[in-house]
Symmetry: C2
């Protein structure tokens, strides 16, 4: 058995491995593992958590053999670096070490670290010789003295800092870097005096004494108060203890056979499988990143406009480069992912300082995942976990060119993703005119949108509103259309009258250029360049793998043949929500709809409905046709009727004239329809109960369209009719009865019968609580349920999505809501109701078809929740379908998405 | 053992008793019981359900001895009527019988009945002789032939009816009663021919044959399809079977020693313990009721203006009257309740035809219940069950004089009980002027009311609105004030501009007289006389008994010292809901409140709040003082701020001037506060999170008032501070923290400490679903919960109480809601959430104090539900406190209220 107190790693050999996190701490175990698989990690050793336990159980004493063990490990370290010639304490060519804590669970910043340990008045001369840089050596030395005095001997850094300030003042310089080697050398002296003044102690010149001081400090830091508090908050056992990692320090700035650099194992922008990176000879890591010197390419594949004249690493240090190539290949094989690495070459020998999964663009994420499967590096399962739903969402929308400069005006809610630029207009008619007649790109800016704005939204590139939340009208419609939208931008002050808006003291007029980023909620001045990642073959391959894993079906919310086609192209397996009211708003029919609503008598109403019938039939026929037999759920009319009436004076006048009634009586009827809380008013199935003729017309239109298509193309077709806002089973029973009657009439007229089902939204708490009654064949007899989580969230929280804007931000800022409940399903409240409803429904009908059609259906965490609850499908806007498919696959794998990208 | 197939009853003896409902059916068992306790019930016998079972198990045959048993029972019947001299089949003096079904569970109208059985061409002559009325005898005969032919022999009644029509046409008369004895005699002949034509059968003249035919028909009717369906719907076992009751028919119109009458054992108007009733010599029951002849009083206590000259029954038939007195005393003793009886005297012998609990006024109900306890007839428990909550409610409000003629204009919702008359006015200012200056009684008529109308509501006698439901602003405020209100009267068309309203084609101007009945929702023309039952000593005695039984505490919803005093007088045990916003509306402070709301900067807001503080402190001081140490729950500000802003142009102008800002910017701020769905908007604790300074001021006012009172009167005082609209535990935790801080400051300033608690309303589904989190000491740390079932109903149903008016009526008419959920707690939805919340809260805090402060707290069925769920108290408007106390007692007894009055 290997020594369990001191475990060496270096030069391809390690006493421990990755499985020993409890003994070695997380860092120690990883260093051992990396060494073991042959990565050129600087050598060192780990003093295990056993020693820490012993230390605290034995009045801060060490086990008997520890000194011997450590001495042996130092010898191994010296020996593994023999071709560099440095050894620990050697004043000609000193080996310096870092001493770091490392607990079994990461506790970032909680415990202590000492760097450059081993420097003293002799070894600093050796370092000068080895590096040829006295300033570097003394700078390291003065830092070490300060760090050691602070961490090990307990002197506050502020005393050293004021000494440093004094020195700079004397030297009449402003920056630390302007101090010369001699001045730094003097500073080391003064630092040592500071130490003596405050502790009475002399700075230990003996590197071994330094080392034991540092080891003891790390062990002591396990019990410092902030570490104890951190563990207690994060449920980390207090008796785990920490390990101590002592590791050789290496330098890329010790001469011209030294270098330092960074590299990606694949292209993080495109995902292309090419090794690529930058480096500098005789330099420190910071030099590469800071841009003071232009870095060299590591190989020809890393050439770009500014560096293609420079010598590559493969030319300059071919052996080290060859090692680097071997290393990166090992890394990818071992981690099964693209790595972002930092390396240093000291005296021609390559060392790996850091490796981590590399950040990448959405397109690169997909390409890399697919390529790695094809290369046999990972399996499909792993590939799917490599891409987050958020990345996929980015992939489907244009985004800001990451290199573009932006002038940020304000921020709103990221209501519908994508970056777009255009001229601002403040009303839908102007939007339409400018687009149609002048072919302008426009951004429609509204205080809030209403269904009357649809034609303007339809032509605009993006939508910007001052009010409303993530599920406001603007947000929902924009997402449905796949258009960029920034909503609830409360800093905007819009004046329709002046056709202008104020933001941050600046005024914008109609026609001024703005850019919206609906992915982040930013509003920017002028036209910011955007890029649209193309969907490559790898995207389709990736999505086909996704579908192999998921259990949830994914449908779309679509109201037109066009949207349905988009959704089909994105892999939708049906329509989960076809809203019939959007059809009502189309220009050629809104007039008849209004006549229907304002009809003073049954005859006029029937006449108007008769005129609407063929239009709706046409809509449904088109959708059924596109959907090729896939399931289509059509929701009967839902919004309160007053939503369809004109608001503007002019329009009211025109309508009155058209209908041949006087304006005052039209206004009176309109006023009668006014509601204090329309969301809780005369809408949904309540309309179907007050005006059965409306739902009868809709059901007739659906079934006539279906029968027609069946005759034309003998296509399989089984319409799903969905009744909204049911709260009591008798509502559904009542509506179901007359719908079934109307359908039977259609069948008789058409001489053909079709299977169909009638179900309901579960969008009221009462519907969830009485789901068994609504489902039961002797009561509501619902054939299916679809959770309408937008409304369910509103009623469960008693929170209007249109009005929440004024305080929701404050709530999120203060952490009163951990997330916007209109974005991600609130598990404790809304989710609880979904569970109750699912359980009650399945008690009555074990095979009840259950879905979700709220906006949450396209949000990853919510999709995961739907999977857990046991729904059959989620339904979301067409542009969210791929996201939902991926989230469903992740859910089926029992994992949430990994955190590759923020 | 008595015969189990045929059981006799009559003349003080019965083979069965009330316990034998399965054997004798419900009717048979009661007839036996009544006979047994000595009531003069006409004799008869019951053929038991055993025979029915035998009949169906043995191919519709009877048990061997049945004929003998029936013959024996007929003899007993004859014998028990020997002093009348009539016997079954006797053609000189025939005994006629009724044959009725009677199952163990009542199945009204489901099975068959035959009356006057025993008539034939001979016995009809005997009946003429006995009654001296040939027309009566032949009318009975023709009815019997038709009924027998239909029920026993299966001929449709329509054939007989057309024969009757033909006869009337021939006789040139319009009414059946205009046919003479001879014409009726002829009709009997024709009916017999009809029977023969349709069945080939001759009408059976033999009374025994008639009887067996009828018995068989009743047994067969057990299995008729509508009876089978009825049993299956009502879960009545199909094998119960029916009994057959054969009972002697008696007549009060067979001569001058015959009579018929009705009586109450006590005065149904006042409850006074006096026997009182009316009768007619030689008459049928209908004659007494119809008013064709003026009835005689049965005794001197029954004298009134129109009958005091007439001979009483005690004078005319002293023996029968003495029997009647004995009978009514027995009845009261047996049933322990005031009875409404029908009696007949045939040839001097008294028969009781019917007895039932008598309908009575609310005042009488209480008086009778109390008197009967004092008389030892019933115990307190029974007394409490004799009065319904509805009666008690009537008792507390004026009602229409039941003798008054009314001209009904329209109906609305019975929003707050009581009948009042007054002159209509259409705005609150006029209401105030007319009452203050002209001392007029006014009825305030509004489309809907808003908090700005309070001063007008306060002076009006009653309130009438065109819109709004049972928990609309008008309804809630009116109930709180104990004022009559008819709400949501959709047939009213009100024009504020013309100061007039149209209803049913009639126009009413300001100043026209109307009467409202808030108990029934009626609106009537002119001034209808009303009566106000005085609360007698019996009321207070009764209520003190009620309190001995109930487990639930009863608090009141009161916002002022005056209301609190009213509630205390009605027995309230604390305040469950003190709404602070009503205080905000008072004339002397609304200005400061508006300044506070519209403040553009923190300084102005603080200044306004500082001005409001002493006023609120005064309010609370007054309430605490009146409540004498009883618990007081104060709800922090709840409504959205825009509710406090002026609507009228004039007022906006005035306010702008007062605040020294321009009108446009005031209007702009007002518009910023506008909400689409205020019920789901920026209100409740959301205000407390956006503007902590408001809640801090309120909490300070509460605690300063409490400290002051403690110092002044060293009164026990423990304020309960209630945070509204909590949906997530962090909201409460956040508000609780700063309230506790403010309270600590007050304690330090005052140099005194008081116990206090901070709890929350449960009025959102999410609050109910996460009640454990809200209650948990490490999370929300609520000290108590109060169910706000008004809002909870709104959010659970997704139904605005202010907007529901337009369709709720339709829902109730169609039975889609079995009851208005704003009136009676919806057990399946809202109730389910209450159960969930209670259970979750008690998991965390077993002793958590739980109450209800929604309008449901004063409704009997809801109170019962609260008892079942395990709440500690209910809270309701002051005028509903007695109702809640009674309902709570009924609930504790495990009974709902008995159905004495509709």
């Amino acid at each position: 058995m290997t020594n369990q107190n001191v475990l060496f790693f270096g030069d391809g050999h390690a006493d421990g491995d990755a499985s020993q996190k409890i003994l070695l701490g997380s860092k120690g175990a990883n260093l051992a593992e990396m060494t073991k698989i042959g990565l050129p990690v600087p050598p060192g050793f780990t003093i295990s958590t056993n020693v820490c336990s012993y230390f605290y159980k034995n009045e801060k004493k060490y086990p008997a053999n520890l000194k011997t063990d450590v001495a042996k490990a130092i010898e191994q370290m010296n020996s593994s670096l023999k071709n560099l010639g440095c050894t620990f304490g050697n004043s000609e060519n000193p080996l310096l070490v870092s001493v770091r804590s490392g607990a079994p669970v990461s506790m970032p910043g909680m415990m202590d670290t000492v760097l450059n340990l081993g420097l003293n008045d002799q070894t600093v001369e050796g370092l000068i010789k080895a590096s040829g840089d006295a300033r570097f050596a003394y700078d390291s030395y003065r830092r070490f003295v300060m760090m050691y005095s602070n961490v090990v001997l307990g002197v506050s850094t502020s005393f050293f800092e004021s000494e440093l300030e004094e020195m700079k003042a004397d030297a009449k310089v402003e920056e630390d870097t302007e101090l010369t080697a001699d001045q730094l050398k003097l500073l080391v002296k003064r630092f040592k005096l500071v130490l003596q003044e405050h502790t009475g102690k002399i700075f230990p010149e003996n590197p071994h004494e330094q080392l034991w001081g540092a080891i003891s400090a790390v062990f002591q830091s396990w019990m410092n108060p902030r570490a104890i508090t951190y563990r207690s908050i994060n449920n980390i056992p207090q008796d785990y203890g920490t390990a101590v990692n002592v590791q050789a320090m290496v330098y890329g700035n010790m001469g011209n056979n030294c270098a330092t650099g960074v590299a990606f194992t694949r292209d993080p922008s495109t995902g292309d499988n090419k090794f690529f990176g930058e480096f500098l000879i005789n330099a420190q890591g910071e030099d590469v990143v800071s841009g003071i010197r232009t870095p060299h390419p590591i190989n020809e594949e890393s050439f770009n406009d500014s560096n293609k004249e420079k010598k590559t690493l493969s030319e300059a240090m071919s052996d080290a480069y060859a090692d680097l190539v071997l290393t990166y290949k090992k890394l990818e094989k071992h981690y099964g992912d693209m790595q972002d690495i930092e390396f240093t070459i000291q005296n021609g020998k390559l060392f790996l300082l850091q490796t981590r999964s590399g950040k990448r663009t959405a397109a690169a994420a997909v390409t890399i995942a697919v390529d790695m499967v094809n290369e046999g590096l990972i399996d499909k399962r792993a590939a799917i976990q490599r891409v987050t739903p958020g990345q996929l969402d980015n992939l489907l929308h244009p985004r800001l060119d990451p290199n573009a400069k932006i002038d940020l005006l304000t921020r709103g809610l990221p209501a519908s993703p994508g970056a777009v630029s255009g001229k601002v207009v403040f009303d839908p008619d102007t939007a339409e005119d400018w687009v149609r007649e002048k072919d302008e790109a426009v951004i429609l800016v509204r205080i809030e949108t209403s269904p009357e704005d649809i034609h303007g939204m339809n032509v605009a590139r993006g939508i910007l509103t001052a009010r409303g939340g993530m599920t406001s009208h603007a947000a929902v419609v924009a997402r449905g259309m796949g258009k960029s939208c920034v909503a609830g931008c409360s800093e905007l002050h819009i004046s329709y009258a002046n056709k202008s808006m104020m933001v941050g003291g600046r005024e914008f007029k109609e026609g001024d250029l703005l850019t919206l980023d609906g992915t982040t909620g930013r509003v920017m001045l002028g036209e910011v360049p955007t890029i649209f990642p193309e969907l490559k073959g790898s995207f389709h391959t990736f999505m086909s793998w996704v579908d192999e894993f998921r259990k949830l079906k994914v449908r779309c919310n679509a109201d037109s043949p066009k949207d349905s086609q988009v959704a089909l192209d994105f892999g939708a397996e049906g329509i989960g929500l076809c809203r019939t009211e959007h059809m009502f708003f189309e220009e050629d029919r809104i007039g008849e709809v209004r006549k229907m609503i304002l009809a003073e008598d049954g005859h006029t109403r029937k006449e108007a409905l008769a005129n609407i019938l063929p239009m709706q039939r046409g809509d449904f026929h088109g959708i059924f046709k596109v959907m090729q037999g896939k399931p289509v759920t059509i929701r009967l009319l839902d919004p309160p009727l007053h939503e369809f009436l004109p608001h503007e004076l002019e329009e009211v006048k025109r309508l009155a004239a058209e209908m041949g009634i006087d304006e005052a009586s039209l206004r009176r009827r309109k006023e009668l329809l006014h509601e204090f809380n329309p969301m809780l008013g005369h809408r949904g199935c309540r309309l179907g109960i007050s005006f059965p003729e409306i739902y009868r017309m809709q059901v007739r239109a659906i079934m006539e369209a279906a029968c027609r298509l069946k005759k034309e193309e003998s296509q399989k077709i089984e319409p799903e009719i969905m009744v909204p806002l049911v709260g009591a089973w008798k509502e559904l029973a009542y509506i179901r009865a007359y719908c079934a009657d109307e359908i039977q009439q259609v069948f008789e007229e058409q001489g053909i019968e079709l299977p169909y089902s009638i179900g309901t939204m579960i969008e009221l708490p009462r519907a969830a609580l009485t789901a068994d009654q609504i489902a039961h064949d002797d009561q509501g007899k619902a054939d299916f349920f679809s959770f309408g989580t937008n409304d369910l969230t509103q009623t469960t929280y008693g929170l209007s999505r249109d009005d929440a804007g004024s305080f929701l931000g404050n709530y999120l800022d203060r952490g009163l809501y951990s997330e916007d409940p209109f974005v991600s399903v609130d598990m404790d409240g809304v989710g609880e109701l979904m569970k109750i409803a699912t359980q009650k429904a399945k008690q009555v009908k074990p095979d009840m078809k259950l879905g979700i059609c709220g906006e949450h259906g396209g949000e990853a965490k919510s999709v995961h929740f739907c999977h857990t609850v046991g729904l059959d499908y989620v339904s979301c806007s067409p542009y969210r379908v791929p996201v939902a498919r991926l989230a469903a696959a992740h859910a089926a794998m029992g994992t949430t998405s990994i955190g590759l990208l923020p």
